[in-house]
């Protein structure tokens, strides 16, 4: 028991003093997760909207694939990305394995199905409300998609935040494709795993606290956006 409190004290010390190893890991982690959230949203949001209101051949298989991806263990996603990026793999020439780029790719693959599923729900609800009115005004499919994306912009922002949270808390896939290289591909989650196994609890705890704060901040942000938009935009 005493050890936990001692570690906690040291952890708060690390955070307060801005310990360089600690700051480096946090910075890399946030940077890569942000990149993955942006990329994953850029692909996942339109994909979700398309599935929500589009009627095209292959829609069903797209839905099934997205759902399957949603349920896939992330280590398996990591393994597949690893195979793709490995020297002998189809994308081996990119030379991305064990680089931050590999992490962003793996995280993006994990973010896309979540963002697409949430966006689909948001856009579908809104489409159910708008469909007749838009058709009555003579709105075609292209403009309908743009109108829905714009009108659900606040909800979609919270969806993107959820994607960021997913990316930041990912560990298995990131470990496999990034290699947990100090100062390059070591992120909060993989650092926690490593430091804990080495017995360096203060650093692990400090990173764990930051991770919790990030997740809290993401949820608080999403909540605030929802409240604000409901009050000001209905």
């Amino acid at each position: 028991m005493f050890e936990i409190f001692a570690s906690l004290g040291l952890a708060l010390d690390l955070m307060a003093n801005g310990d360089s190893a600690f700051v480096r890991v946090v910075a890399i982690s946030l940077e890569l997760s942000l990149a993955a959230a942006v990329l994953g949203s850029a692909i996942g949001l339109p994909l979700g909207a398309l599935v929500a209101i589009g009627r095209f051949p292959g829609r069903r298989s797209l839905i099934v694939s997205l759902n399957a991806l949603l349920g896939l263990p992330s280590v398996v996603v990591g393994l597949v990305v690893y195979l793709m990026l490995s020297r002998a793999g189809p994308l081996g020439t990119w030379g991305l394995l064990f680089t931050p780029g590999a992490i962003v790719i793996a995280q993006t693959v994990l973010v896309i199905p979540i963002v697409a599923a949430l966006a689909r729900q948001v856009v579908e609800d809104s489409w159910n409300e708008y469909a007749e009115q838009l058709r009555s005004l003579g709105v075609g499919t292209g403009r309908a998609v743009r109108t829905l994306l714009w009108d659900t912009r606040f909800s979609l922002l919270t969806v993107a935040l959820a994607g960021f949270g997913r990316a930041a808390s990912e560990v298995g896939a990131v470990m496999i494709v990034g290699g947990n290289i100090d100062g390059v591909t070591r992120v909060m989650t993989t650092a926690i795993a490593l430091e804990t196994s080495k017995g360096d609890l203060p650093l692990a705890l400090a990173l764990g606290i930051v991770l919790i704060l990030v997740v809290l901040a993401v949820n608080a942000g999403a909540y605030a956006i929802r409240e604000w938009s409901a009050k000001h935009h209905g």
């Binding site: 708008y130 009115q133 009555s136 003579g138 109108t147 000001h232 935009h233 209905g234």
Partner: protein, 237 residues
């Protein structure tokens, strides 16, 4: 063409099937220019479906809808619950105009005029979805009015409004009609029907039971179903 060449809209033997149920059953009706038509009927008679089919939102299983002349007239529809986009009141009106290819200065001018005509200038820049129900319905009327439609369908536009707001909507509908737009509207409020109607279309179980000038309808309905309906709906308000 030979019989009544002046009809703005002529629906013949419209049959609409929804979820396996025949909701409109060979419904026929003519809309002549210049009148305000109120569609009455019991709950579930098919009033809403009739309006949506005429407006083109529901494809009929069979039957025809013919419009006068060689161009489809401009039409608009106002629903019981207005659907507002997440942008300002004014931007909602401009949106309808933009969809119909009206851009730039004419768009801004027409949108502002329509907003003014329904008495919403003061809140033109407020987000549409936080307006009250009555204000949103007036905004829906402005959005439709700005399109300068030849015919405007309204499906129980006052059903979820308090009497004050309903009166406003009624006044605006009369003003739209006075500018030459053909009105086809359903309502549950017989007082409103008497105030607004030039003619009544009475629908019973997916068919037109009668189409009668309003005075005559309320004095002496021609169909048994309408007689029962009027008895059941008394007193008028």
């Amino acid at each position: 063409m030979a019989e009544r060449p002046s009809a703005l809209l002529r629906a013949r033997d419209l049959t609409v099937v929804l979820g396996g149920v025949t909701v409109l059953d060979r419904l026929s009706l003519e809309i002549l220019p210049g009148l305000r038509t109120i569609v009455l009927g019991a709950n579930g008679a098919g009033k809403s479906v009739t309006l949506r089919a005429l407006h083109g939102l529901i494809p009929p299983a069979s039957g025809t809808i013919d419009w006068q002349g060689d161009r489809t007239p401009r039409q608009a529809m106002v629903f019981q619950r207005p659907v507002m986009l997440r942008r300002s009141a004014l931007a909602n009106v401009e949106y309808g105009l933009a969809v119909n290819g009206i851009d730039g200065d004419p768009r801004r001018r027409r949108a502002r005029e329509a907003i003014a005509k329904v008495g919403l200038e003061a809140i033109a820049h407020r987000p549409a979805r936080v307006l009250s129900g009555g204000e949103q319905q007036r905004l829906a009327l402005a959005r439709a009015w700005a399109l300068e439609p030849d015919i405007l369908f309204l499906d129980e536009p006052t059903a979820s409004l308090d009497p004050g707001a309903a009166g406003e909507v009624e006044r605006i509908v009369a003003a739209i009609a006075a500018e030459g737009t053909r009105i086809v509207m359903t309502t549950h409020n017989l007082g409103q029907a008497r105030r607004l109607a030039d003619e009544i279309v009475f629908i019973h179980q997916g068919r037109v039971a009668e189409q009668t000038p309003a005075d005559r309808f309320f004095a002496e309905p021609q169909s048994q179903h309408a007689r029962h309906f009027l008895k059941g709906e008394l007193p008028w308000n």
